[in-house]
Symmetry: C3
Subunit: 136 residues, 3 copies
């Protein structure tokens, strides 16, 4: 069995951003030299998530607008601590903060349109994603 761990760092310019990380994850998979396995990609900061969907600008706009509708910025009890980002915690909850990608024959085994995105909901600061691979 092989295990391989790496971390991706982000410091987005905008507060809300979808960053396509498919190639960066694929590079880590190549470095891991695992032919058959599972690859966890998980946002370590609680105001960001991981989304597997389409690299299409209209849809990326739609999903962010839709998340704003379901989990709007506004007045939350969490803000009594001095924070102003409760909506980002809720948006992370909606998209989920992690995915498992299968590795088959040494490469990510994704569907034809599946792309992996880092979903930032409270950016403009350094944040981390863990990539952990288990396999053989």
């Amino acid at each position: 069995m092989r295990a391989h761990t790496d971390y991706l760092w982000f410091d987005t310019k905008k507060r809300h951003e979808l960053v396509n990380i498919t190639d960066r994850v694929a590079e880590i998979v190549a470095a891991a030299k695992v032919r058959e396995g599972l690859c966890l990609v998980s946002a370590m900061h609680i105001t960001a998530g991981i989304w597997v969907n389409d690299e299409e600008s209209g849809l990326k706009h739609d999903v962010m607008e839709w998340l704003e509708r379901l989990a709007p910025a506004g007045d939350y009890r969490h803000h009594q601590t001095g924070e102003d980002n409760a909506d980002a915690h809720l948006k992370r909850t909606l998209v989920h903060h992690q995915v498992i990608l299968p590795i088959t024959k040494g490469a990510l085994d994704l569907g034809p349109w599946e792309q992996v995105f880092y979903a930032e909901f409270d950016g403009r600061r350094k944040k981390r994603v863990v990539v952990k691979i288990l396999g053989e």
Copy 2:
């Protein structure tokens, strides 16, 4: 360590459908000859998901109606590409597109009511789910 990969194909008659795949996944687990492990079940098309919940027709009706309320069909920027299924991408996001099922003593280690469903939100075409097992 053993790794085992298989794929399930779907071509649903209706655009929206919940298909119980518990038995089909259990068959793949049996074929994998893994006694202790993890089984990833992940929808490879970005307008479908995987849902673990109750095999009860009323609840299955409720969840689909509720998804329609939170992520309604309608007018989205994605449709400028000629597509008409942006809501299906959002519904996949809500139910999540994958689960990990534990395998214990050679069988799926599910709760008393847990059943595994393929959740189709834009059907009537061929689509695929990957089942990837890691264990010993």
Copy 3:
């Protein structure tokens, strides 16, 4: 390869409750003697979920209130079976019912604020969570 399985039991006093289980999961990881691996934490009852987020009382209040808004208690077709908890099935769907936690150098590899919660939406009865670890 090592595999280790354990179960956590819950019997919450309130119908809705967020229970911080980070320490209990960490104890199971320590007992597993796995240095590098993946740890699945999955709610086995279909009206509960697992949430990784902040141990902050305001935010915990916010998330439960927000789940009530998106998946309210009310009249559902599922209730024709005699049940009254359809909303709990939907809330489990929103927060998702499971997470995978990375294990690095023998410990949970969590972000600075990540805490693991059992999210109960229909409590006051005995329910179970499976913790399954795979690694070396």
